[in-house]
Point group: C2
Chain length 328, copies 2
DNA sequence: CTGAAAGCGCTTACAG
DNA sequence: CTGAAAGCGCTTACAG
């Protein structure tokens, strides 16, 4: 059997309470006693059973991160920094890919109730009844999960507007929008708003394809988009994957980029692998979003008051998928 | 306070043991009693506290997945399927990005001892003392973590050889190899072996850059590689990111692909987003690797005997980074 | 500063 | 089939 706090207590000649106190900081324990206990721990190679301690303290030390799929650059990068930040505060991260599986989201909600996890970060999500979310420490990204659930987002409207204005400035006359529409109310919807506004302002035609799709279907969406609007000379792609698929598909069709078609993307997460941006894109502050959202969650878990909406600034990066700046 | 098994027992007019039996399958419980208990559970919205049950049963229901970084297509895809498979068996996945943080790996080992997690999958890893790994349910990918630790791999040598022969067939005379060397003994090393063998066989020059690097440094490695061997007409890139960075860097330098330089990659994980492969590459069976490794781990956790080495077949995909097949 | 004891919420032989 | 009881390994008032 594994050695327990009892064995340590016996060996050190103290009560189990004292061992526990040493384990939890050792404040208010006599130096000598403490040393004896620590020696015993050392000798017995004692490792406290976390499960017992958690049961007692009624906390799990776990937070769940729900993403549609992890194998997508945006979510992967987010997961990376969420784990990094959580680790700093002593939390571990449970990874859940919930796309196609609404039950998984419900499960997490259950797990929170069961004290299996302390809280959760929903990046995207299905629609849940308000009362299911009640009393669960939850935070989200881009979407208001419920009216009391804090979330982090980026300046979707302004950034998109800015990106589209850039295409206009680069001479585009027929600008398309290709994206995947969120299932529920989301800040991401503002990208489409911005598109419609900019087109209207400049009197340009609307060439849009923005349906609710699953990750993995970008290829079909792009094909249909190019079929419906074969003559676009500029495209705003909502999401890095969409942009990448668009780029590849265009290349395969023999469309020259940026000569025949310029591309601007929202979210340029894969840039990190290169020193210079390849896609011209709106860069979301993914790392900061991750760190902020984790801290929000921990504050909620600890019962603190937190800000409901945090908006972070994006960056505009000029890459090779738009025409060279002459005026620069 | 949360409602407990006791409340349910009282409400149903039975003992707590009976409630527990109903919760755990309800076998050998009278139908009527069972119904009464279930009604009580329903009425009280009772959710069992997992922590207590785990303490009692001495199992956590958690497995840890250690990758250097999640935000890399290979690891992200692996993480996705690991979670999917683990979920089928009732396990949740703890995600840990251990690059740069050897302590994180040690922590997991500790957590296994503490019964915080039931087992772990190490994809890559630092060197650990054999006795640290002792008695821990562990499995890994591509690397033998220790002599009793099962692992899953792909046919690195054959696949690389095959890919290189393809470049030779496509007329390449100066074939380069750019990769990142694993820290420890690994099946991945066989890719370099295959390269050296093929070059020797065909009397071609060696143009190799294969150092131990961190994920994120691919850009520098590629730049140096192209500087050292500016006249390569074919490159084998070990790893999808390396290949992608190579492609982008070449494009930026004005090198035409595949006319001036053909590229073949090991691991074409991002293919999934397109219907047609973009990179010509060796496709690792990531999904199968993930599912197999999870099942191996669960078998180990349950104390079964498992196969030490599982080798899976790769696929060779022809994309746009090598010259058109004439003979096809 | 420290020990003895109660208890976290469940599970599981043990009797019956 | 089922109840009472012991116990999983820890933590935390409560006395002293």
């Amino acid at each position: 059997m594994a050695t327990t706090i009892k064995d340590v207590a016996k060996k050190a000649g103290v009560g189990v309470g004292t061992v526990s106190r040493v384990l939890n900081g050792g404040k208010s324990v006599n130096r000598e006693t403490k040393q004896r206990v620590m020696d015993a721990i050392e000798e017995l190679h004692f490792v406290p059973n976390q499960m017992a301690s958690r049961l007692r303290k009624d906390e799990s030390g776990l937070i769940a991160l729900l993403v549609p799929v992890v194998n997508h650059p945006f979510f992967a990068k987010l997961a990376y920094f969420v784990e990094d930040e959580a680790d700093k505060f002593g939390y571990s991260v449970l990874l859940v890919s919930s796309q196609k599986r609404m039950e998984k989201e419900k499960n997490i909600l259950q797990q929170i109730r069961r004290r299996e996890v302390d809280g959760a970060i929903f990046v995207t999500h299905y629609d849940h009844a308000e009362n299911e979310l009640k009393d669960c420490p939850l935070v989200s990204i881009d979407r208001p999960l419920g009216k009391d659930i804090p979330y982090v987002t980026s300046d979707n409207y302004d950034a998109t507007k800015n990106a589209l204005e850039y295409l206009v400035k680069k001479g585009c006359k027929r600008i398309g929008y290709v994206g995947s529409k969120p299932l529920v109310d989301s800040e991401v919807l503002k990208r489409e708003d911005a598109y419609l506004d900019v087109m209207k302002e400049h009197g340009l035609p609307i060439c849009i394809k923005n349906d609710v799709i699953l990750h993995g279907d970008e290829s079909n969406v792009v094909s249909e988009f190019l079929q419906d609007y074969p003559d676009v000379d500029g495209v705003f792609a909502s999401g890095h994957t969409m942009a990448q698929v668009l780029y590849e598909t265009a290349i395969q069709k023999g469309i020259r980029i940026p000569e025949q078609m310029q591309i601007v993307a929202y979210d340029g997460s894969f840039q990190q692998w290169s020193n210079n941006p390849f896609l011209t894109c709106v860069e979301q502050p993914i790392e900061e979003m991750a760190r902020v959202v984790v801290r929000l969650l921990i504050d909620k878990i600890e019962g603190k008051e937190v800000q409901l909406r945090t908006m972070l600034k994006t960056n505009f990066l000029i890459g090779l998928t738009t025409k060279e700046s002459k005026e620069n």
